[in-house]
Symmetry: C2
Subunit: 159 residues, 2 copies
């Protein structure tokens, strides 16, 4: 009888533990409204996903895509020769231009990244972050990747 | 004693009624993630809001804005000489091109409206609808408003 009791308790504990794991996994990889897309690795520190929303640059001359950063993930320092626009839709992130303190980004924020300006963006340490990215003048807008954002740079104070 | 009883019942009924009204108002005017902006009236049937997200067309050559339609609201038949992109973020809406059956739009859907193509978009009868609109090639992209979407057109079957 005692054996059955322990079996039942152990099963209940395992079930509870499994449910908790599933909840945590779901929280860490929440599907954004516009979709996760494919994993990207080049020029990112951590785990990020990219989903193209518009691939008609031959008619529209702008590229539109959804980028999702796992917590603590960021891209490398880089420039866009014609600038870029970020529309923050979910979670919490950072944006920093070289020589300036980094900014905290929340859903609803819009960032206009000026042409040829060195910068990076990514998630805060504990929150997934999603933004739409818009590359205007796509036919001539060149990206130049410069180098990794160090942990020291990432952990610097926000403004 | 009976008077006090009726007073208490009447107060409770009024409170319940007031709470219901507040809930209904809140449901009908939910603030979208990217903001409601200002009420627009021209070329819309019903109530709609417009919030510009990017007004740097001189450097980016694209206009980005958030449009929210109250339930049953739609814009007039119109064309964009260089096309338009809609990114549906909240609620449920319709999109129709002249001569085609209308489409149901849900959050996550992206619509590429071809250049010079007569169309309209708006909310479903019972749901508020929000999309981001992107006007590419803004310096040369002309809008031409044609005329109201009739109730008959609006109520036609969806595909």
């Amino acid at each position: 009888m005692r054996k059955i009791f322990f079996l039942v308790v152990a099963t209940l504990m395992l079930t509870a533990c499994n449910n908790q794991t599933q909840t945590t996994m779901k929280e860490n990889n929440t599907e954004p409204v516009l979709g996760l897309g494919e994993v990207v690795t080049d020029n990112f520190t951590g785990k990020a996903w990219l989903k193209y929303l518009s691939t008609h640059p031959e008619t529209t001359d702008c590229l539109i895509y959804n980028v999702t950063f796992a917590p603590a993930t960021r891209n490398y320092w880089h420039t866009h020769s014609e600038g870029q626009i970020l529309i923050c839709t979910e979670g919490e992130g950072y944006y920093q231009e070289r020589g300036r303190t980094k900014q905290l980004l929340k859903s609803g924020d819009v960032v206009h990244i000026p042409a040829a300006t060195e910068h990076w963006h990514g998630a805060t340490p504990n929150r997934q972050f999603t933004h739409i990215g818009i590359t205007p003048k796509a036919s001539v807008n060149q990206v130049q990747w410069i180098g990794e954002v160090t942990d020291e740079e990432y952990n610097n104070a926000i403004k």
